[in-house]
Amino acid sequence: MTRQLIELDRVEKNYGEVRALTGVSAEIREGEFFSLLGPSGCGKTTLLRTIAGFEDLSGGQLRIDGQDMRGVPANKRPTNMVFQSYAIFPHLSVGENVGFGLRRKGLGREAMAREVGQALDMVGLGGYETRASHALSGGQRQRVALARALVLKPRVLLLDEPLSALDKKLREQMQVELRKLQRQVGITFILVTHDQEEALIMSDRIAVMFDGGIAQLDSPQVLYRRPVSRRVAEFIGVMNFLDASVGGNGADGLEVDVAGLGRVALDPAQCPEGRSGTSTVVGLRPETMTILFDTSEKAARVAEGSVSEVVYFGDMTYYDVTLDGVAAPVTISMRNLPGRPVLDRGARARVGWDAGAMVLFR
C-alpha cells in the first residue's frame, strides 16, 4: 500500500460570496499521477493553488506528508508549480531560469551548473543553458518550466493546464512525455485539466470536480466504466442513456426493465449505493453496443432499430440508431474492419448489446 502524501479534509475556500471549494476531501498518494478534471469554473485551479499555498483555506484541513499546512507559505512548502502561462522569467537565460530556485540551496557554481544541465537533459533541452528564454517556442518554454520546478526535487509537482497553450500535435506528444517523465522521477504530479481525454491518458487516478466539490475519484478505467452519476458519465466520453424501471432483487441481481432493450438483471457493482425508487436511467457506452451486419453474427442480447444518422471517421463509423419503441436514438461506434460495410441512413439494423456493460444511475 502506497503512502498518502496529501490529505485534503473537507477543504473549503470562499471568495466573498463565491464558494469556490465546498468541502473537498481526498487523499493523494506518494508517486502517483493525479488529475483534477472538471468544467470551467468548478474550482480546479483554486484547489491547486490552495495546495501550493497561494490561497488560504476558509475551512477544513490540508496536510502534506502528515504536516498541517496552515500558515506555511508557498515558498516553504515541498511543492512546486508549473503555471499555465509557464511564467518563464523573460530577462533571464534558460540556464538562469532553471537554476533560479537552486540559488538558495547554497550549492557551488559547478554543482549548480551540473544540476541545471541534468534537469535540461531530462526534458530534452540539453545544451540550451545560454539561450535567451524569450526566443523559445511554446513547447520549449513548457519544458523549461518543468525543468525549473523539477530541479528542486519537490515532493509534489502542481501543473495548471500545462498543455492547453500548445497545438494539438504537440499536446499529444507532451502528454506521453510528461507521463514518462513522471514515472522516471517518481514525484507526485497533480495536473489540472478540463480535457477528459488528457486526464484518461495520463493519470493514475482522476478526481472529477463539479461546483467546487469532487463528484468521483477513481482510476481512469473505473471512472469510464462505472461513473457514479449521469453528470460524470456525460463529462467523460459519450454515453447513451435509456429510461428504466427497477423491479425487485432476482436470483441474478437487481431486475431492471430498460426501454427498448427489455428486462435485465444487474450485478450490485453496476448499481450505485443508496439507490431508491423505481424509475431511473441506465447508461451504455457506444463501443459496448454493436451493429450485427449479417444474421450469423451473435451477441449476448439483440435489439432492433433503424439507422437515423451515420458519421464516418475513417477508422470508425458512428451510428445513431433509433431503437424500436424508444424516441431518442443511441450512438453506436463501430471499427471499420476490412470487409465490413457502412450502413446508410434509414437502413434497418440489428443491435447487439450486453447487460454486463450497463450502469444504473440513481
Binding site: N75, M81, F83, Q84, A87, P90, G101, H134
Partner: protein, 268 residues
C-alpha cells in the same frame, strides 16, 4: 489635389513646430545683440559669457538637483501607488486613485497659490525644498500612469513563480519585478526630470531666493542685451535634451529586445 493639400499642411505644421527651435542656435552664434535678420557674423562669444555668470550657474545647479530629487521621489511614490493599484483591491480604490491623479488636470497656478498659502501659514521658509514639494505633487501622477502600465503588462504569475521557487516577497521584488518594470522606472524618471526642469509657475511662487533656471531666465528677459546669452543657453539645453532622449530610447529598445516583448513604439 487632395494629396498635395495634405502634404502642404504637414510641411507647414512641421515648420511652425520647429522653426523657432532652429532660430535658437542660429542667433546663439550671431554676432549682434538684436534678434533680427540679417545675421551679423559668427561668434562663440555668447557661450564664453555664459561661463562667467555666477547667478546663472547657481540657478542651473538648483534646477538640476531639484529635478533629480523630484524624479527620484515621484518615481518612488509612483512605484508604491502603481503597485497597489495594479495588484491589490482595497475599499474606495477608485476614489483614492482618482484623487492621486487629479493634479494631472488641475491648473498649476491653483496648485502653486494653494501651496504658497499653506506654506506661509505654516511658517515654512521658501526654497529648493518647497519647489521640490510642488514638483513632486505634479509629477507623481505622471509617474503613476507610466508605472501602472508597466505593472499591468507584468504577468502576475512571474512573481508567484519566483515565490513558489523559494524566494521571499522582497527578493522576488528585487529579482523579478524590479528588472522587468525597469524601463517604466527609467521613463518615469526622465519624464519627471523633464517636467521639473522646465516647470515655471510653481517654481516662481515657491522658489524664495534660490531661483531655478526657468525663473532666472524669465528675470533676465527684461534686459535685451542678455537675450543672445539666453539663446546660447537654450542651444546647450536643446542639444542636451536631444542626447537625453536618444539615450532613453536606446535603453528602452534594449529593454524591449532583452525581454522579447513586441515593440509597441516608444517616444521616438
Amino acid at each position: 489635389m487632395k494629396g498635395r493639400g495634405l502634404a502642404t499642411y504637414a510641411v507647414a505644421y512641421l515648420l511652425f513646430l520647429y522653426a523657432p527651435v532652429i532660430l535658437l542656435p542660429l542667433f546663439a552664434f550671431n554676432d549682434g545683440t538684436i534678434i533680427a535678420f540679417p545675421l551679423q557674423g559668427f561668434t562663440t562669444g555668447w557661450f564664453v559669457q555664459l561661463t562667467r555668470i555666477e547667478a546663472l550657474h547657481d540657478s542651473v545647479f538648483n534646477s538640476l538637483w531639484i529635478a533629480l530629487t523630484t524624479a527620484v521621489l515621484s518615481t518612488c511614490f509612483g512605484l508604491f501607488a502603481a503597485r497597489a493599484s495594479a495588484r491589490y483591491r482595497f475599499p474606495a480604490k477608485g476614489g483614492i486613485m482618482g484623487l492621486i491623479m487629479l493634479p494631472l488636470v488641475l491648473p498649476e497656478i491653483i496648485v502653486a497659490v494653494a501651496l504658497l498659502v499653506v506654506l506661509l501659514q505654516l511658517g515654512i521658509d521658501l526654497g529648493a525644498w518647497t519647489v521640490i514639494l510642488g514638483h513632486v505633487l505634479i509629477c507623481t501622477p505622471f509617474s503613476i500612469a507610466i508605472l501602472n502600465s508597466a505593472f499591468l503588462s507584468l504577468d502576475e504569475s512571474l512573481e508567484e513563480a519566483s515565490y513558489d521557487l523559494g524566494e521571499t516577497k522582497w527578493s522576488t521584488f528585487r529579482l523579478i519585478t524590479l528588472p522587468l518594470v525597469m524601463p517604466g522606472i527609467i521613463s518615469s524618471m526622465l519624464i519627471a526630470f523633464t517636467i521639473s526642469l522646465d516647470e515655471f509657475i510653481i517654481a516662481f511662487f515657491l522658489t524664495g531666493n534660490e531661483p531655478t533656471l526657468p525663473v532666472y531666465l524669465w528675470s533676465q528677459l527684461r534686459f535685451p542685451t542678455k537675450i543672445p546669452i539666453v539663446m546660447a543657453l537654450g542651444t546647450i539645453m536643446l542639444v542636451a535634451s536631444l542626447l537625453l532622449l536618444t539615450a532613453a530610447e536606446y535603453f528602452r529598445r534594449r529593454g524591449v529586445a532583452r525581454t522579447g516583448a513586441k515593440d509597441s513604439g516608444g517616444f521616438l
